[in-house]
């Protein structure tokens, strides 16, 4: 299905959703996200957007190597993290900074990674977005898409065997779902009865490639049956639906009921990355259509329906976000790059002699040059 029919799909009853077009929902489902949490989530979405805008600008100014927005997909990225336990590992794809924000990963820690400076927990080893925050139960992101899916499956097995009652959640894009790793991860998860949730952010595009070229399947959730695991397709701009689907899946998995595949339909509102120009491959109009359906618009409408959000509050939230982001940028940009010697660390737990020789020879070369 292409993007047109993806839009249609958002309207069809087969797709599960909770929020109505006017922002209302069934009264008994409000408790899925209590008011205070809803406000916190809304603020995070705003923060996410400010980061996207400001950091994209930074990238254009040549002050950041690379950037990727997640604007439009926050109901999935924040909602999923919200629905999990704090110690449930989240295996990110790359477009899920919202999950980090809900987990309260410090803004500076995020920015240090994006810059790859001396304070970056990754020691400047990876491109922007390749986060790892072990303390926050965020394992290491890698570029090759889909590779995190079997990791989440394995972690979910470990959780079962070690009885930690953790549930591992892995994000991937609908593009990544075409990789072999998707297949083996989902199939293994069924066989291993892993405590794992696979969450496809189906945002319609993989760089320039629309979903219609990615697969002829009508739904990716339908793949669950072929692995004997639970599968559900939801409206990924509907925060409450995301929370419910992830919570249900997590509860089932935690109780030994097996893994689940969730396909959340959403839309990549921005470019693929700072290196991309989406006007080359998709109509402006399509993007505009989604603005009404995007995560912020819908969550805001819902908060207003609840009567807990006003324009004034929103204004001050935007201002707070701007301030936080400004501070983050100025504090992190100052930091120096990692020291040269660190280049040779962490390849192995202890540096082997052959590598130490390479290090010594190189450092000697640097010293000799200075003289």
């Amino acid at each position: 299905m292409g993007q047109a029919s993806c839009l249609e799909a958002l309207m069809t009853p087969k797709l599960r959703s909770i929020l109505n077009a006017d922002g209302s929902c069934a009264e008994e489902l409000r408790d899925l996200v209590p008011d205070s949490d809803l406000l916190a989530i809304l603020r995070i979405i705003l923060l996410n957007r400010v980061m996207d805008r400001r950091l994209m600008t930074l990238q254009r100014q040549g002050r950041l190597g690379f950037y990727m927005t997640s604007t439009g997909e926050e109901a999935v990225t924040v909602g999923a993290a919200y629905a999990l336990r704090e110690d449930d590992p989240i295996f990110l794809s790359y477009r899920e900074v919202g999950s980090l924000l809900w987990r309260k990963v410090p803004l500076n820690a995020i920015m240090n990674q994006l810059i790859g400076n001396a304070q970056d927990l990754n020691k400047g080893r990876q491109m922007p977005f390749h986060y790892c925050f072990r303390e926050h139960h965020i394992p290491s992101v890698s570029s090759p898409v889909g590779t995190q899916l079997p990791h989440a499956c394995g972690f979910g097995y470990a959780a079962r065997i070690l009885k930690t009652s953790q549930v591992a959640l892995a994000f991937c894009g609908e593009g990544a779902a075409s990789e072999g790793d998707f297949h083996t991860a989902l199939n293994f998860s069924g066989v291993l009865n892993a405590q794992t949730i696979f969450l496809i952010r189906n945002n319609g595009y993989a760089i320039s490639t629309p979903e219609s070229v990615q697969t002829k399947a009508c739904s990716l959730a339908s793949r669950a049956e072929g692995y004997g695991i639970a599968g559900v397709r939801i409206d990924g701009t509907d925060l409450l639906m995301v929370v419910r689907a992830v919570r249900d899946a997590a509860e089932r998995a935690r109780g030994g009921g097996g893994p689940a595949l969730i396909e959340a339909l959403t839309y990549r509102m921005g470019a693929h990355s700072s290196a991309d120009d989406p006007t080359r491959y998709r109509p402006e109009e399509e993007m505009r259509q989604w603005e009404k359906l995007d995560a912020l618009a819908r969550v805001r409408l819902h908060a207003k329906w609840r009567g807990i959000w006003t324009d004034t509050e929103e204004e001050s939230a935007w201002a707070d976000a701007e301030k936080a982001v400004s501070q983050m940028i100025s504090e992190c940009e100052r930091l120096p790059p990692p020291p040269v010697e660190s280049l040779f660390d962490d390849v192995y737990e202890r540096m082997p002699a052959v590598l130490r020789t390479q290090k010594e020879e190189y450092l000697r070369f640097l010293r000799d040059r200075k003289r």
């Binding site: 690379f66 790859g116 400076n117 080893r125 491109m127 090759p144 990789e179 390479q358």
Partner: protein
């Protein structure tokens, strides 16, 4: 003489593909985002518009599928030209390349051969970190049945790609993405080929032989200029075909100079430089005046923040040249 046009490497590759697609009706181009979008580096730009979506098309995001189906297309009479978006992402397709494509002709006693080219941008220098910088040529050179080719500039890119496309064997064609837009040179407008298995003698010299390929040719050239300033006269060879390669050219140079330095960006251990050093020291042993040397990426994953330290630099090359010549 043929008409010359100024082209960067992207344009040269695009031009080669265009010429070939026009000539061979069975040639098809496939890969992630290579269709209407023209590829993330724009190498296939305009080709879908020209040759239609049946011959130039986007695939699902799955490298094993891209190479695997391409093999089947070759068996079925098409000539696939495959793009892997970055060389770092070729590994999901590794089994299809090393166990299938590489061995196909051999395993069936020559009943079938696979005429196909697998193109991919490789190498560092664009701040791509672990996964947008790797140089996997040694994996493929260690795999009998594959040809591995790496151009260093626009002229080489067009001539080698056209030669690879005419070659009946599967060719892994690695494109130094750092060079994609960094230089423009005069390139003949029309069809021409640079023969596979032949190295290019780029500069004659007496004191040492410097072998490089791909983006490292630029480093080699710069280092040799610095060396010249110090009074060293260095011969430079652009390897071009990494496997099977032009041992003869390297040997006859080293027999003259008695000294060899090979540069590669890939991690040092078991790389292409190791192969050249091993073979040359055996075959030119009595002519050697100094230990054969190599400068390579360190045996660490490719870094992000410190990539300038990781990549062989002209200063390091000069340093080793000096030590080799003064040995």
């Amino acid at each position: 003489m043929a008409d010359l046009v100024q082209m960067n490497m992207i344009q040269a590759l695009n031009n080669a593909l265009d010429i070939y697609m026009r000539r061979e009706a069975t040639a098809i181009i496939m890969g992630e985002d290579v269709g209407g979008f023209g590829g993330v580096f724009r190498v296939t730009e305009g080709l879908q518009q020209k040759y239609g979506a049946e011959r130039v098309f986007d695939t699902p995001l799955a490298e094993a599928g891209i190479v695997g189906t391409a093999i089947g297309m070759a068996l079925g009479g098409l000539q696939p030209i495959v793009e892997i978006q970055f060389a770092d992402f070729v590994f999901p397709a590794f089994d299809q390349i090393v166990n299938e494509a590489a061995k196909y002709r051999y395993r069936c006693g020559g009943q079938y051969g696979l005429k196909m080219v697998i193109r991919m941008p490789y190498g560092g220098g664009i701040r791509g970190g672990h996964y947008h910088s790797q140089s996997p040529e040694a994996y493929f050179a260690h795999t009998p049945g594959l040809r591995v080719v790496i151009p260093s500039g626009p002229y080489e890119a067009k001539g080698l790609l056209l030669a690879a496309l005419d070659c009946p064997d599967p060719v892994v064609f690695l494109e130094p993405k750092k060079v994609y837009r960094s230089v423009k040179t005069h390139v003949p407008k029309d069809y021409y080929t640079i023969p596979l298995e032949k190295a290019a003698l780029v500069r004659e010299g007496r004191d040492a032989t410097l072998v490089a390929y791909g983006a490292m040719m630029e480093v080699a050239r710069e280092a040799v200029l610095l060396a010249e300033g110090e009074g060293y006269d260095v011969e430079v060879i652009d390897l071009l075909s990494i496997w099977p390669y032009d041992l003869k050219a390297v040997l006859s140079s080293v027999e003259k100079t008695g000294r060899l330095l090979v540069i590669q960006e890939a991690p040092q251990t078991c790389g292409v430089a190791a192969e050249l050093l091993a073979e040359v020291q055996r075959r030119a042993f009595t002519r050697l005046r100094a230990p054969l040397r190599r400068i390579a990426g360190f045996d660490t994953p490719f870094p992000y923040a410190l990539e300038d330290h990781y990549l062989p630099s002209k200063e390091r090359v000069l340093d080793v040249l000096r030590k080799t010549i003064e040995f």
